[in-house]
Symmetry: C2
Subunit: 267 residues, 2 copies
């Protein structure tokens, strides 16, 4: 029997009780897409334009809701409508990083009300397990899922070695809510099944001037990514049609890499 | 000659070029207060009530602007008016924790426009030095200052040992913008002067149910804190007058601890 991550997305459903994780695996299998597009744009109109363009090609949309200058409740309504129209889930990339008492308030309150609309969010493990307990007290009753940042794609990151190992251990102790990791490779023991979401994916670019480093879809899926996260490589194209085409290209590349991984495991 | 942190706040002005750091040291000396009150409340009315109550006693107000449910631009105007009325600076405890390109947008854009009104903000070092470069590109032209999270007060934190050392090294390489640390003790070499702001301060309480651990003002100033950060210990009191009195009590405790530290160094 190959390790869980070498099996199909459908068969891995049996390994998850978390409703958000299950919905994501089902969506990936249904759409044959392991592509998440990161929508790092700062106006409501541009967010909605990009999401409508890439929606048919993705399993997941990653937002930074706090950079949207004309944010309002209508944006959340329209995002939800698009998620139904195009069949995708939403992941607010908040990178929570405070103590438990504070993240409870940040996740549930404020103008952004993240817990009310985002199926997934993520958190750094640096504050210790209290951050997970705090977020779980808000998110679990709503069926949400949490991803821990176990590694980062930026140059000189401190998320490595013992830090990464301690993060995996924290995840093990909260399996009902923590469904996986933001990471650059497969983590955990061979018999464990965590969702691995890998950012910093781009075809044909090495990095940016602020330390970001890029990898191709085939490279990251080969190292264990279950979902590839592409940002500027997709939304950076000029024109809605070009953005749509680029999303479709990454979708095909990501799925081909997954099929290749399955095939290699069966050989 | 004693180490810089064992000298007076006024004499340490010579060690800082950053405008926010200089303004803070001047304010501390002028008001004889090294007290920062953390205002972790979720309505505009309550934020303004607490800030108006504690304003006369503090050098710094720490906000979590993203937990305020009825946040609007008027709140920022009123906060600015109170900062002039009572003579204090503002520190948005955002705990930035993303790659450089993203924090540029989070710091400068979105509904909260943090860089436009907050004299200080803070960041985790886990993404690597790109986060500092990104924030500096926005904050330095505005005269802002950055604090790095070198240690945390929560149970099981990963900000320790090599992580803390690497954070101090990142600060050294960006001294014009990074003015100090959120930490539990003095950091850096004896000849270096970083501002140390210590959270988790409370008189007569050991912790909360989500992993937060508390220390007294005398204990943290003795270990090297330049500014003590008190949250629930002050704003948690019922009634504006009780909050005001509690802030005054912490102000006196913090200042007495500073005078004790100076005296011990001269002995």
């Amino acid at each position: 029997m190959p390790a869980p991550y070498l099996q199909s997305y459908e068969s891995r459903l049996a390994n998850y009780n978390n409703p958000a994780a299950r919905a994501l695996l089902e969506c990936i299998a249904r759409k044959q897409s392991n592509l998440c597009v990161s929508v790092d744009v700062s106006t409501k109109a541009k967010v909605l334009e990009v999401v409508d363009a890439v929606g048919p090609s993705v399993c997941l949309i990653k937002t930074h809701i706090d950079i949207v200058e004309d944010f309002d409740a209508d944006l959340l309504d329209q995002l939800e409508q698009l998620s139904k129209k195009h069949d995708f889930l939403i992941f607010e990339d908040r990178k929570f990083a405070d103590i438990g008492n504070t993240v409870v308030l940040q996740y549930s309150k404020g103008v952004h009300q993240i817990a009310s609309w985002s199926h997934f969010t993520n958190a750094h493990s640096v504050p210790g397990p209290g951050i997970i307990a705090g977020l779980a007290s808000v998110g679990l009753p709503l069926g949400r899922g949490l991803l821990l940042l176990a590694e980062m794609s930026s140059e000189g990151t401190l998320a490595k070695g013992e830090y990464t190992e301690a993060t995996v251990q924290m995840a093990r102790e909260s399996r009902g809510f923590v469904v996986g990791f933001i990471a650059q490779q497969r983590l955990g023991r061979a018999d464990e099944d965590f969702l691995i979401l890998t950012p910093g994916v781009q075809l044909g670019s090495a990095g940016d001037s602020l330390g970001q480093q890029y990898n191709t879809p085939a490279a990251v899926v080969g190292k264990g990514a279950d979902v590839i996260i592409v940002g500027r490589g997709v939304y950076g194209k000029a024109g809605k049609e070009a953005v749509r085409e680029e999303a479709e290209r990454y979708k095909k590349e990501g799925w081909a890499a997954y099929e290749q991984r399955m095939k290699a495991a069966q050989a």
